[in-house]
C-alpha cells in the first residue's frame, strides 16, 4: 500500500467529511467553513468544479444519492438543518450549478448525520440529531426533488450521532442508530429499527445492542453479499463487529412484532486505544476501515476462516505531501500560521513508498 497522490482541498478549515459518488469519480467535501466543494476526476486529476456555501454552521456530513436520481447530495449541519442539493444541467463543457432542492428544518438541534437509503427504497433520506430523533424523509416524485416530506420521526431518547441503512434488498428497510451519550448506565448505545410494512407502517425498534454501552460515534452496515445475516460495525471506545441473524419467525405477520435477531459479536479490537470516530466498508464489504483518536486509520479484514484481523495502519508522519494539483500561489495563507506551511515537492519519485516494508504495496496475509 502506498500513497499515490495528494489533493489539495483548499478548504479554509478542517474537513469533516468526504463523500464519493457511486462510481468514485466525483467527490464532495464539507468543512467547518460552512462550504461544500465538488471535485471531479478529470484525466486522473481531481479538479474542483464547484464550491458553495451550504449552511450557516459547520457542515458535518455530506452524502451522495444514487446516480439514478441524478447528481444529488445531502448535507447536514450544526445550524440544525439538512439540505438537499442538485446539480443543474449545464451546457456542454460547462460545469453545472448546484441549487438547493430541499431544506429540512424539523430538527431543533444540530443534525449529526445524513444518509440516503439504498436505492431500492426510492429516494429516502435518514437524518439524526443531537436531540435524539431520527427522521426519515422522502421525495415521493423522484423527478421533482423540491418536494420532501417528513415520513417518520423516530424518538431514540438518547442524543444520536450516526445512522446507517442496511443495504440488503431482501430484508425490510432497516437502520442502525448510534448514540454518543456518555453515560454507560443509559444502556445499549446502538439501536436497530425496522420498518413494518405489513400493518403499522411505522419504524419500530427491533433490537438494542446491549454490549455497547460507551458513546458510539459511527455505525456502518456492510454490503450484504447474499449472506443470511447482517454485518454491522460499531465505532465506540473500540471497533466492534456484530452479526445480526434474523430468527425464523412465524409465517403470519403479527401487528407489532419486528424481526428478532440473534446478535453475535464476531470481533472487537482495542488497537486504537482511544475513541474510534469513523468506520467505512469497501464496496464488497471485505475490508473495514476505522479511524480513531490515536491518529491512525486501520484496515480490518476477515480471512477465509472468518477470523478478523488488522491488515494495515495508516498514520500521519508529517512528511511533505506529493501534490498532484498545480498549487496555486497562496502565500499569504501559508505564511499566516508558522509551522503549518507545506513544502511543495512536485519533482522526485512518482510514488512515495512509505513505511518500513520492503514490498511497499502488498497487503499481507494475516
Amino acid at each position: 500500500m502506498f500513497i499515490a497522490k495528494s489533493i489539495q482541498a483548499e478548504h479554509k478549515d478542517l474537513i469533516h467529511d468526504v463523500a464519493y459518488d457511486f462510481h468514485g469519480r466525483r467527490m464532495a467535501t464539507c468543512s467547518s467553513d460552512q462550504h461544500v466543494k465538488i471535485w471531479d476526476l478529470v484525466d486522473g486529476e481531481w479538479r474542483c468544479s464547484a464550491r458553495y456555501k451550504v449552511h450557516v454552521g459547520s457542515v458535518w456530513r455530506v452524502n451522495w444519492a444514487h446516480p439514478e436520481f441524478g447528481q444529488v447530495i445531502a448535507t447536514c449541519s450544526f445550524d440544525r438543518t439538512t439540505a438537499v442539493w442538485e446539480e443543474l444541467p449545464g451546457d456542454a463543457g460547462e460545469k453545472g450549478q448546484w441549487v438547493k432542492r430541499g431544506n429540512l428544518v424539523d430538527s431543533r438541534t444540530s443534525v449529526t448525520d445524513v444518509e440516503f437509503a439504498p436505492k431500492h427504497l426510492g429516494l429516502q433520506l435518514a437524518t439524526c440529531s443531537a436531540d435524539g430523533v431520527v427522521r426519515i424523509y422522502e421525495a415521493p416524485d423522484v423527478m421533482n426533488l423540491s418536494q420532501w416530506t417528513l415520513q417518520h420521526d423516530i424518538p431514540c431518547k438518547l442524543s444520536c450521532s450516526c445512522v446507517s441503512w442496511n443495504p440488503s434488498r431482501v430484508h425490510p428497510p432497516m437502520i442502525a442508530v448510534g448514540s454518543d451519550d456518555n453515560n454507560p448506565s443509559a444502556g445499549g448505545k446502538v439501536h436497530i429499527f425496522e420498518y413494518n410494512d405489513n400493518t403499522s407502517r411505522k419504524w419500530l425498534k427491533a433490537e438494542t445492542i446491549m454490549t455497547v454501552t460507551d458513546a458510539v460515534r459511527d455505525v456502518a452496515f456492510s454490503p450484504n453479499l447474499g449472506r443470511s445475516y447482517h454485518l454491522l460495525a460499531i465505532a465506540s471506545k473500540n471497533v466492534t463487529i456484530v452479526t445480526l441473524k434474523p430468527l425464523a419467525t412465524k409465517k403470519e405477520p403479527s401487528a407489532t412484532a419486528c424481526t428478532k435477531f440473534e446478535i453475535h459479536q464476531v470481533a472487537q479490537f482495542e488497537d486504537h486505544q482511544s475513541q474510534v470516530w469513523r468506520l467505512s466498508w469497501n464496496v464488497t464489504g471485505s475490508i473495514l476501515a476505522s479511524s480513531g483518536d490515536d491518529g491512525c486509520v486501520r484496515l480490518w479484514k476477515a480471512n477465509y476462516l472468518g477470523n478478523w484481523g488488522c491488515i494495515s495502519v495508516l498514520k500521519g508522519d508529517g512528511s511533505a505531501p506529493q501534490q498532484s494539483l498545480t498549487e496555486k500561489s497562496n502565500k499569504s495563507n501559508l505564511g499566516s500560521s508558522a509551522g503549518t506551511s507545506v513544502e511543495n515537492n512536485s519533482g522526485g519519485a512518482r510514488y512515495l513508498h512509505l513505511g518500513p516494508v520492503a514490498q511497499a504495496n502488498h497487503v499481507p496475509w494475516h
Binding site: K5, S31, G70, S280, S286, K315, H366
Partner: protein, 653 residues
Amino acid sequence: MADLDSLQMIGVPGKSCLAYGCQMKWGLGNQLFVFADSSQKPSKDKPSSLGSPEFIHEANWDTDMHTPVARKLVNEAHDIFISLQNNVDTEDKQYQMLKHSAAYRSIIKACVMDIQLALKQCTSEDDRMAFETQLQLFEAVELIWSFCEILYVSVLPAGALISQLQQWMRLHFTESDRLAHEALRGSNPQNAEGYWPAVYGLIFQGRITEALQVLSVHPERDSEHFKLIEQLLRRMPVYAANSGLSIGEFENKWRYWQEECVERLRDGSFMAHPCLEVICQILCGEDEVFAAHSDLLGTWYCLMVARLFYQNPAIKVFDLQYATQFCVDAYGGLSNLQPWDSILLAAVEFDIHQVIRECSSSFGNWWFASHLTDLLQHCGKLESHTLHFGSTLREFLLLEFATSLLSHHSLWQIGILYLDHCSEFGRFYIEEFVERIPIETERKAQKVLKICEERDLQPQIRSICKSMGMRSLHNKHLGAALSWSLRSKDVNFVTFIAEKFLNEYSESGGFIDLEVLDHLGSSMLLSSKLTFLGKYREFHRLYEEREFKAAASLLLALLTAKIAPPRFGMTLLLDALPLLQSESIIFTSEETYELMHCLEEINISRRLKAKKAAKDDAMDEDVDKEKLDLMKLGLARNLARAIVHEGTNFDMF
C-alpha cells in the same frame, strides 16, 4: 490471527495528518482516501486554529498487476485459468492439470523475459529499480511454481522424482555452466579459479556428460586417476522410466556401483589428487562433502537434491521431508532462511497451507497465490488436509485477486471473469461492483450492459440504464435519455422524458432527436405518454410525406382514444385545421362529426377550468376564442363539402 510482524505501517504525508490524526473514506476497489481528522465533538462549532490548506491523500494497493508487463501476464493467465476450469472433470484430469501447470509456467517465463528486455531498454534509475524488483519476484514465482508442480501436480514414480528435481535445478541454477564456460574460454582451463567448482557443480546436478567434457580438457586426463574417475562417472547407473528396469533392479545396480566408489575412496586411489577425491566423495554421497560445498550449491534445496541424488536416488515424494533437516542446518538453520527458501521448505513438508500463506505475504500480488491454489485445489491437494477449507481458501484468494483487478480501468473485465468462478460470493461481488464501474463513454456502457446481460443481472441493468438516462438528461440529450430510459423499463422515468419531449414541442413547435422517436416500435407501449408522443410524431411524419388520408385518421384516433394529455387536445384539433381546409376532402362527414364532438368536449372542460381559475387569464381566453371560432368554421365547411361529396359519390352507384 493477525500477524503483527507483517502488519504494515503506512506514513501519511502532511503536517495536519500528524497533528490531528487521520480520517478515511473508501474509493472504488483498493483505493482509500485519507485526510486530516477533525475529531471534535459535534456540539462545538468553533473554527479551528488550523489555517493551512488541507490535503486529501489517495492510497492504493495491490497495483502490482497494473504494470504493462504484468498486464500481459494477467490476460494470458486468464485464458489458461478458464481452460483449466473447463477441464476439471475430464477423464485425463491428471494430464490436463500438468498441461495447464506447464502453460502457466511458460507465461511466467515469458513475463520474466519481457522484464529482462524492458530492463535492457530502460533508461531511468527509478524504472530500473522497479523492473529489477519485478524480475526477482517473477523468477522466484517460476521457481516455486515448477517446484510445486513436481511435488503436487505430476505424479512421479520413485526414481523419476529426483531426475525431475535435477532438471528443475538445471533450469534455474546455471552458475556451474557459467563457471565451466569461463574456465574453458581461458588458455589454461585447469588453472582457472572456477574449473573445479564447475566440475563439482555439474556433478552435483547429475550432469555427468558435461562434467566429463570439462574434465577432458585437463592436461592430466590420461593419468590413472583421471581414467579411474572417468570410468566411475561413466558407469553411474541412470534411471529412466522406459528402460525396462524396475526400481528394485535400478537400486541394486546403483548400490553395486556406489560400493565400488566407496571401495576406491577407501583404498586411497585418489589420495594424490584431492580434487578427484572430492569427486569420488560426492559419488559416495558423503555428508561432509555436501556440507563443505554449501556455498557452491547456493541454497538448501539445491543441496537437498544433490545429496539425495547420491544418497537415495529412488526417493519418494513423501520422504523428501525427512531429508530437509541436514540441508537447512548446513545454511545456518531455519532462522537464516530467506522467505522464498522457506516457501519451498513448506512445500517439501507438504504443508500446502503454509506454502499458500507465505506466497500471499511474500509476493506483492495475489496472482501467484490464487492461481497456484486454484490448480492445487483442482488436483485435490487441499481437501486432503485436516481442515476442509480447500474451496473456501481458493475462493478467498480468487476474490482478492479479482478485487485487485477491479480497481484497474481496463483489467476489471478480467476480474469479472474470475468472479464467475467463485461459486459462493462471486456473483454478489459482481453485483456490487458492476454498477459502480465508472462509465465514461457510450461504448463502455454497452460493454458493461453486455456483461450484465450475460449474467442476467436485471436490477443492475435497469439501474445502469437509468443512471445513463439521468446523465443524458442532465447533459440535455433528450433523445439519448429516452433510449436509455426505454432500456431501463422504468415507466415513471419514460413518462417523465416523454413529457419533456412534449414540452419541447409546445415551446418550439418541432420535434428533436427524430431518429429515436421514429424508431420506437413496440417499446412505445411502455407509457401512455410515450405512446402519444410516438403516434403524434408519426402524424407529423405522415403529414410531411403528404399522406393526408392516413395522417387524418391517425389524428382522429389520437383524439378519440383519449391518450392525448388534456392540454394537447386543442393543439391536435388545430393540427386538423389545414387538413380541413385542403382542396380535396380528407375527413368524411362521419369523421367530421367526431371532430366536432371532440371540440365540444374540450370546450366544456375549458369552461369548467376557467370557472375554477376565476378568470385571471382573460387574454388567453381571447386567443382561444379566436382559435375556437376558426376551428368551428373549418369543421362546418368541411362537413358541408363532405356531405355534398358523399351524396354525389353515392349517386354514382
